[in-house]
Amino acid sequence: MSYVHPEYLVDTEWVAAHLNDANVRIIESDEDPLLYPIGHIPGAAQVDWFSTLQHPLRRDFLTREKFEEVASNLGITNDTTVVFYGDKSNWFACYALWLFQYYGHQNVRILNGGRLKWEQEKRELVKDVPSFAKSSYKAKEADKSIRAFRDEVLKQSNSKKPLVDVRSPKEYSGELISMPNYPQEGATRGGHIPGAVSIPWAQAVNEADSTFKTPDELRALYEGKGIKSDGEVIAYCRIGERSSLTWFVLKYLLGYQNVKNYDGSWTEWGNLVDAPIEK
């Protein structure tokens, strides 16, 4: 068995062969934003999940207009193939890819293995920051079919439809919540959304080289926990970043039709008045 949409993955060899391809834009998106300035794939640009992709005031993503500006400054046209890679097994690369899809950019890829595999193969890393001729990117209307909001999540939970909690087991059990002195991002309650099954995100990747597990392994992982390809699935974590990797796996590698990422995740749910919680 192969991945259902293998065209959404490229390998290091492919990227190395397309470093000078004008139709390809390589973008690094990391958990640790200092990795890019220390050394990145030649010609790659950087987006930061927080300072580039978040709304400057509200807890939300960039508006459509601002997204167009970001894409245009990166010289991306509506036909550009955008390849994302990053640290931590591509979790923030998947987050950036998800946002590009949210605004309708279909032509996206993940570099399988991400930054780690590129480094392991001793491929070139440079400090030069490329500049691009500005394009005039046109984004589409936000695609709500890949993003879940809290009311929808409540409905999903009440009707006992599949929810995947991709946080660590201790976060799922409620043992870990906000720690002392952590007011900015803690949740006032611990636990998980009723009915959610626990499948930590990292189980979808090989620790040794950050590549995705085989199609059979992935299918066994999710189906084994009752997360099937028919019907809607909602994935969440703490702020929606780890769950975008799970979203990518379910949607493209396993071909699930209807998968949403709940970016409000635990930092919203665990603070939401009247929201049901299971421990």
């Binding site: 200092l34 220390i38 952590y182 991002e185």
Partner: protein, 145 residues
């Protein structure tokens, strides 16, 4: 606000006057100056105190010098330059101080540095976590003497 240890105060003042770009540059410089773990600790990693507040595996150890001052050693992977940079700031600001002096550093000493211009709140939480565990190590050194 009580006075900070002079070296730490200097770092705080420096950051306070920097642009966002300069802060990032400086953090990179700190990360690149991050010293390797000494050999004797390499074999005794279990002795080091973990900092679970960081998403990155971070361990630290406070080594008491003959003059009573403390030198901190960190074990942080190179894949996490921001955490390395932040730990290096704390080490530069606090190394050589007595455990009692380390305990006087207020938890929010870094507020004037405006680190949030360059890094996310999550990182700042990790930074606070590292300081909290350095103080914990200092408390242990006091009670063990």
């Amino acid at each position: 606000m009580p006075n900070l240890p002079p070296k730490l105060q200097e770092i705080v003042d420096d950051f306070a006057s920097m642009t966002r770009e300069d802060k990032i540059e400086t953090l990179i410089a700190y990360a690149e100056s991050f010293p390797p773990l000494p050999d004797w600790l390499m074999e005794e990693r279990d002795k080091m105190e973990p900092v679970p507040e960081c998403m990155t595996p971070v361990r630290l150890f406070g080594e008491k010098q003959s003059d009573g001052g403390v030198v901190f050693h960190f074990d942080i992977p190179p894949q996490s330059p921001t955490v390395r940079g932040l730990a290096a700031i704390l080490a530069n600001g606090l190394n050589g101080l007595k455990p009692e002096e380390i305990l006087t550093v207020p938890t929010d000493f870094f507020t004037p540095m405006k680190l949030e211009e360059a890094i996310t709140h999550q990182r700042i939480n990790g930074f606070m976590g590292v300081l909290a565990h350095m103080k914990h190590a200092a408390v242990n050194l006091i009670s063990n003497k």
